[in-house]
């Protein structure tokens, strides 16, 4: 295998770890409440803009930007849960899709209105330098994003499987009424799930802000990426999201390298449609 190809694959894995992180947020909410957040990609976008604002206003790097993005998005998650989700999750499918889709527009165009439609980016030197690891040249910003995303995704998995908070959340996901009888408040657990999901997503946004283009409509593409990832990985499964996210990161990088950057999104979309056609059982983790 050529050396460049290895470089491309490693780059894909690093990006894929970030995909895995924000897809974990989507899968958590989907698996637990059976609601699909169509504004999920826009949560990532907001995380990116938080990092952007932190840099432009106070010159802060990811050390400040990332925790702030988590905080802002987690708060937004709770607000969205109590203000919207709690009511529409019992309603008809139309209301669920419209509700989160409307939220997506609201967020996307508020940012558009405020910051304008032009592409923004953070200067290369915030997380400076390039490391040579085993002969590969890795940009520090991508390395940081990939490694942090990987660790946080694993942490989320541990949180869900190894802590009492995690088992309470799973209990609510299984049967909210039964959980309530056991003294667990579904409302609180679901709000926490939204906070965690949105916070993780905001973190992912702040991490990729260092090397990704920042534009209000970026959430549209990333939202679809998250959906594809969750579809492949299975609903509610963080490990599934991790594997699928890494896979999609690599596929995207490879197709960008082999057939051209404009086609990398197309490849992911077509991959998704291909799976819908030929392996729907792989998409039906929970019926």
């Amino acid at each position: 295998m050529s050396f460049v190809l290895v470089q491309v694959i490693v780059g894909g894995l690093l990006l894929g770890a970030v995909y895995a992180l924000f897809s974990s947020g989507l899968t958590l909410v989907w698996g637990m409440m059976n609601i699909v957040n169509f504004a999920h990609g826009d949560f990532v976008m907001l995380g990116m803009y938080v990092a952007y604002v932190v840099y432009t206003l106070m010159g802060g790097g990811p050390i400040v930007g990332a925790p702030l993005a988590v905080l802002v998005l987690a708060t937004l998650g709770v607000v969205v849960y109590f203000g919207l989700i709690r009511d529409i999750m019992k309603g008809p499918m139309l209301a669920q899709i419209l509700g989160t889709f409307g939220l997506a527009l609201l967020l996307r165009y508020s940012v558009f209105w405020w910051f304008g439609a032009d592409f923004k980016s953070l200067p290369q030197n915030i997380v400076g330098g390039t490391y040579a690891v085993a002969g590969l040249r890795l940009e520090a910003s991508r390395l940081l994003a990939g490694v942090v995303a990987l660790l946080v995704t694993l942490g989320l998995h541990l949180l869900l499987t190894r802590t009492s908070l995690g088992s309470k959340m799973l209990a609510v996901a299984e049967d909210a009424t039964a959980a309530q009888l056991m003294g667990i408040r579904p409302d609180t657990m679901q709000a926490i799930a939204w906070a965690i999901a949105a916070g993780a997503t905001g973190l992912a946004g702040a991490l990729i802000a260092n090397f990704f283009y920042i534009v209000p409509t970026v959430g549209e593409t990333l939202g679809i990426v998250a959906f594809v990832t969750v579809s492949l990985g299975g609903f509610g499964s963080v490990p599934g999201a991790l594997v699928a996210g890494l896979l999609i990161g690599v596929i995207e990088s490879l197709s960008g390298y082999l057939i051209g950057a404009v086609y990398k999104d197309i490849v992911v979309y077509i991959l998704f449609l291909f799976f819908l056609w030929f392996r729907p059982q792989g998409l039906m983790g929970k019926m």
Binding site: L94, I97, G102, L105, L107, Y109, S231, I266, Y269, L276
Partner: protein, 323 residues
Amino acid sequence: MRRLLWLSVLAAVAIAYPLLLSSPFQQRLGALVLLYAIAASAWNIVGGYAGQVSVGHVVFFGCGAYAAMGAYAKFELSPLFGIPGGIVIAVVLAAVIGVPTLRLSGHYFSMATIAVAETMRLIVTNTDYLGAAVGLSGPTVARNIFDLSFISSLPYYYLFLLVLAITLVITWWMANSRMGFYLRAIKDSERAARSLGAPARRTKLYAFMLSAALTSVAGALYAMMFGFVDPESGLGILISVKILIMAALGGAGLLFGPLVGAAILVPLEEISNSVLGGKGAGLTFVVYGAIIVLIARFQPGGILSLFKRRSKPASEAGAPHAP
């Protein structure tokens, strides 16, 4: 009887509108309302009646728009000749999307429609034959009346009115047929509908294909009126959004819901654009987003559902008497 009266009043108002409010701006506004009402009514068949929320409906709109402009730009034919071609492509595409996704939960359908629409937009943007990012243009000067290229909005207005009337008649006919009943049943409980013999997948697929065909016609008309189509105006996600929100605001699954939605939102957008200028575009969609959230949260049935005649409640429903 009262229904008939209301219908006649509505028809009279629709016919008289461009003659009474005859400034170019007003006539154009009227034509746009009707155009979006056609597209939203077409969406309503699958999104409202069948409850399958297509978020990528613009892809069918684009089929019609590109077919109409392509007929002129590639074959020097009247854009009208593109309409059948646009319909065929839209229907085939609907089948390709619908067959795999309509058997899965509604979220897949929504997401798949977005993915297809975005894929098409990206492909078309990179296809030189279809004009890439610049798009295709129609006739700048009409060679004859069949080019449907007019300076005034008035001919478009009446053309759109006719097509809207046809669309509504088709919708009405469908809603009162077995298919319409089955769609409503499937929306409430697919499992129960199937147990009673409703072929759920096939019925949803037919609704989707019918909706795609009509949306394609709307796209062709749109391109004819504006004289061109490019990836943003013909395949951009925001057109999908407009179509969807109009139907939902007016009342998804109600015959006149989309028309009511279009009559509110098109003027809102046109006025906000002319008042706020380019900066207004973002703000308009902020408002759109807020409206959608509010509808979903408080009135998922849309505005018209507020006025629906309330049936008498089954007060003693708990105790049906024995046979």
